[in-house]
Amino acid sequence: MEELGPSVVLGELGTILRAGLRVVLTDAGCVLVAHPALADAALLDLDAPAVGERARTLLAAWPGLVVVGCSAERPVLRCFGPAAPPGERALSVGTLLDAVGLAPAWEGTAAARRRACSRAARPAYDREQGEEPG
């Protein structure tokens, strides 16, 4: 059976960056999903002023989620979370795919987290985002 790549949710991103991410990620076999409950990784706008806070919120709700900030202004990305490498890294298709779940250091956490957390954590997450739990 063909194994699907990491599932990724795209956060609030500019339309140009989002278009680029969509193509790069799907070409590499990632699955784009609409909600963090279904995702192995979340991509945020690294240029947004509150990106750190947003990453902390996501990680608090979904401890195993891989959270990655991607810049449209500069060719850099940054991984968030306790296990993430510190600082910014050069942004390339390779480093992006590594960051969202293809690198050995990240393997294993996402699928397990998704199985364990998705059903239980989604209502709380939805409430936090001001949405009706669905």
């Binding site: 960056l17 278009a19 680029g20 193509v23 202004e73 500069r74 298709v93």
Partner: protein, 209 residues
């Protein structure tokens, strides 16, 4: 200047590989052909089949991009990180036909700018043009080539500066669109400008509009 359709080929240069992919994707979705992509114009692209070069001004530098663009006969659009007046002047005097601000960029703005530039017009962020015109109106020196413009040429230039299209200007001044295009052509020749935006900037700087 020939009329170019949405099949215009665009070369996309940007140092950010994901943003570059996004630019290319959005252009294709809007009906443009993407002739190729590079980062930092390396390796130097073969622009023979391109009508427009879209590039990041800070990453490449105006001098290098304009030299390459002029040599290849393509029209240039610069992506800038912030809407600064000085940068706009620099860009226009270097011969850029369009400027886009990265942070404000949407597929529609991108397509509108590329389409306008491909058709021989200029395209500038409206807020930036407004700032520039205000500041020039406060301290613009008089004189220069623009003082040689005839009254009807100045009238057309003023309406161009106000953002009117050829059709709008024709309507306002009771000319045919063909006449307006001829007047604009004469203005560009007299001022030795490559684009309408460049002519507006020059005439404004020289204090004649």
């Amino acid at each position: 200047m020939g009329v170019v359709t949405t099949a215009t080929a665009v070369w996309v240069d940007d140092p950010n590989p994901i943003f570059r992919q996004g630019l290319a994707t959005c252009l294709r979705e809007q009906g443009f052909e993407v002739a190729g992509t590079t980062a930092g114009l390396r390796p130097e692209p073969d622009l023979r089949d391109s009508g427009v070069l879209l590039f990041d001004v800070e990453a490449v530098g105006l001098a290098r991009a304009t030299a390459l663009g002029h040599r290849a006969g393509v029209r240039l659009i610069g992506l800038v990180r912030e809407a600064r007046e000085e940068l706009l002047y620099e860009s226009l005097t270097a011969g850029l036909a369009g400027v886009l601000v990265r942070g404000d960029l949407t597929p529609e703005r991108l397509a509108g700018c590329v389409r306008a530039v491909a058709e021989g017009h200029g395209a500038l962020p409206p807020d930036l043009l407004g700032q520039m015109l205000s500041s020039l109106a406060r301290g613009a020196p008089a004189g220069g080539a623009a003082t040689a413009l005839a009254r009807r040429e100045l009238a057309v230039l003023r309406l161009l500066a106000a953002g009117d299209s050829t059709r709008d200007i024709a309507g306002r001044l009771s000319y045919s669109e063909r006449t307006v295009k001829n007047i604009v052509h004469d203005v560009l020749v007299k001022l030795n400008c490559r684009t309408r935006a460049h002519a507006v900037a020059l005439a404004t700087r020289q204090g004649v509009i």
